[in-house]
């Protein structure tokens, strides 16, 4: 029998620890600040956890979720969230696309327009909400004043306190703030389209609409889809803009799922129930998230 030492002892290839050391700080921070709280939040959502009865916190399984599905306020908050997300993202996209098309050619003043149109996007959200609240005030508000002096309205409109108008008002503010994101993103995507593609289309006699429909739009579609998914997630989760503008009113007409979850958890101190609502929001958003990851991989492959 050959002695074991006769075997050729191949030194096992040691894994290089250098890249792990480099990502370690990031991994620690993200685990602690991003991932752990989500796990804790999901755990909370399965507790009978009310801060008013803080010494009596106990596990109650899916009871919060059962309660949620029977809660009419939650259903209406979900509908408000969908309306808000679709309206804000949809109009942001249309206005952003329109602006990008106007800016996509070289002409005098292009850089100035671009700079000015991007300004809303950098303004601090709280400032945006406060300033718009001031503009939309019914009695001394600027918007009512302008519309009145143009004889478009006789009586001041209750922009933020009329039950049907309030949602349109917050969507308008969201579009004001959000369209520059699309404008810049779509412009960048259009910049990647080589000139000879347009040249060929023009030689073939395509008019503006045909060129947009058959060349520009298909080529900016991947970017549009990806950034729209991201925007949907961010808009759905957004809390600040509406909260400072209307506080969720009038009569819950602008109470999104985020605001409803916030109220339950932080105002009524039903931490368990509030967390359960947020978990439902997370589940809905992860559907979009999975789509986002898939599409991003797909587009990367085809690029």
């Amino acid at each position: 029998m050959a002695s074991p030492s006769a075997e050729i002892r191949r030194p096992r290839k040691r894994t290089d620890t250098f890249p792990y050391k480099m990502i370690l700080p990031a991994v620690i921070m993200i685990s602690a600040i991003n991932i752990w709280p989500v796990i804790a939040g999901v755990y909370q959502s399965m507790m009978d956890y009310n801060l008013l009865r803080a010494n009596n916190i106990k596990f109650n399984g899916v009871q919060n979720f059962v309660q949620a599905l029977k809660d009419p306020d939650l259903i209406s908050a979900l509908l408000v969230s969908v309306k808000w997300t679709v309206g804000a993202v949809g109009f942001c996209y249309l206005v952003g696309l329109f602006a990008a098309l106007l800016l996509n050619e070289q002409f005098k003043g292009r850089a100035i327009y671009r700079t000015l149109l991007l300004l809303p996007w950098v303004a601090p959200p709280v400032v945006v909400s406060i300033t718009w609240r001031w503009i939309l005030t019914d009695m001394d508000g600027l918007l009512n004043h302008i519309l009145k002096s143009m004889h478009l309205i006789k009586e001041p409109l209750l922009w933020l306190s009329d039950p049907t108008l309030a949602m349109w008002s917050v969507i308008m503010v969201a579009v004001w703030r959000g369209f520059p994101f699309y404008m810049v993103t779509i412009l960048a995507a259009m910049g990647n389209i080589p000139d000879d593609v347009y040249e060929a289309a023009r030689i073939d006699g395509g008019n503006r609409w045909q060129i947009f429909r058959h060349i520009t739009f298909p080529l900016i579609l991947p970017v549009s889809v990806i950034s729209t998914l991201l925007q949907c997630i961010w808009t759905f989760n957004d809390f600040g803009l509406i909260y400072v503008l209307t506080g969720g009113g009038p009569a819950g007409k602008t109470t999104t799922l985020s605001i409803y979850a916030y109220r339950q958890a932080f105002q009524y101190l039903h931490v368990g129930y509030g967390s359960a609502i947020a978990v439902l929001a997370l589940l809905l958003m992860s559907l979009l998230g999975i789509l986002y990851l898939r599409l991003q991989k797909k587009y990367e492959v085809t690029d």
Binding site: F18, Y20, A32, V184, N237, A265, F266
Partner: protein, 276 residues
């Protein structure tokens, strides 16, 4: 001739529409500033687009009779701290993502994308518990920890993309000359990464300067500007000149940043969605 004319008309139309859109974009900023410098008596007479008299009383009031300067200082500390830490951590991780293949790299990348989708309302309470356990509740450092982490996914992807554009041969030459890998990174790659670092810095600074949900939960006394402004709404109900003066002062640093670093900022916006 008719072709030229229609081209001219089209150009004119383009300018008209763009001017209209620019007015829409600028109007709130204009109204904010005008309200802040209009005397109270004039304010009472209803909204007028052009002020007859100008006064800086509201600014004086906000700056010398309220907590505003302290909030401003706190915000600056939080934003600067978050930016410095995010830059450091994102550089290291971005470099590893760019240059090395290691087990778990794909999972790490996907995690970075996924964490951006978590609703803040869900993580709020666990974060408050965690931060008070660390003992940095109501301290700027607590916010620094959170904001720099919130900035990391974008920052790491951004730095990775930037490092990808720097040829490896430079570091290879340096390691042959006897540099350690860390030295090659620090002495060769980092000095070439200015524009990438600037983009990340602008992004993180703005995130930290603007964020208010987490600040709202964390801070009781040492407020940052967004939270300070929220307390102003209740305190100065209907004193729009003071509110708008405070809002203007909060916006100025952001605008300065934007004017100086516009290119880096727009690159930042597009990096997430456009793969060039």
């Amino acid at each position: 001739m008719t072709n030229k004319l229609s081209q001219l008309m089209l150009n004119l139309l383009r300018h008209v529409v763009l001017i209209g859109m620019s007015l829409f974009a600028l109007l709130p900023f204009y109204w904010m500033v005008v309200t802040s410098i209009k005397p109270r008596e004039e304010q009472m007479m209803g909204p007028t687009l052009i002020p007859k008299h100008i006064t800086f009383e509201a600014y004086q009031h906000v700056w010398s009779e309220t907590q505003f300067p302290a909030w401003f200082w706190n915000s600056l500390k939080v934003a600067a701290g978050s930016t410095a830490m995010a830059l450091l951590v994102a550089c290291l991780a971005g470099y590893a993502m760019s240059r090395y293949n290691f087990k778990g790299k794909g999972a790490f990348g996907t995690t970075l994308l996924m964490v951006q989708m978590f609703p803040l309302v869900l993580v709020g309470i666990p974060l408050v518990l965690l931060i008070s356990k660390v003992g940095v509740m109501d301290k700027p450092f607590g916010l620094v920890l959170v904001y720099m982490t919130f900035a990391l996914p974008f920052a790491i992807w951004m730095m990775k993309g930037f490092f990808d554009g720097i040829p490896r041969s430079l570091e290879e030459a340096a390691t042959i000359d006897g540099c350690s890998r860390m030295q090659a990174f620090r002495l060769i790659v980092l000095p070439l990464s200015g524009p990438g670092l600037t983009s990340v810095a602008v992004f993180t600074f703005l995130l930290a300067w603007n964020e208010f949900f987490i600040a709202y939960l964390f801070l009781k006394t040492k407020l940052t500007l967004p939270i300070g402004l929220l307390t102003f709404i209740a305190q100065f109900f209907n004193q729009w000149d003071s509110l708008m003066a405070a809002s203007t002062l909060t916006t100025i640093p952001v605008l300065v940043f934007y004017m100086v670093l516009q290119r880096q900022l727009t690159r930042g916006i597009t990096a997430g969605a456009v793969k060039g």
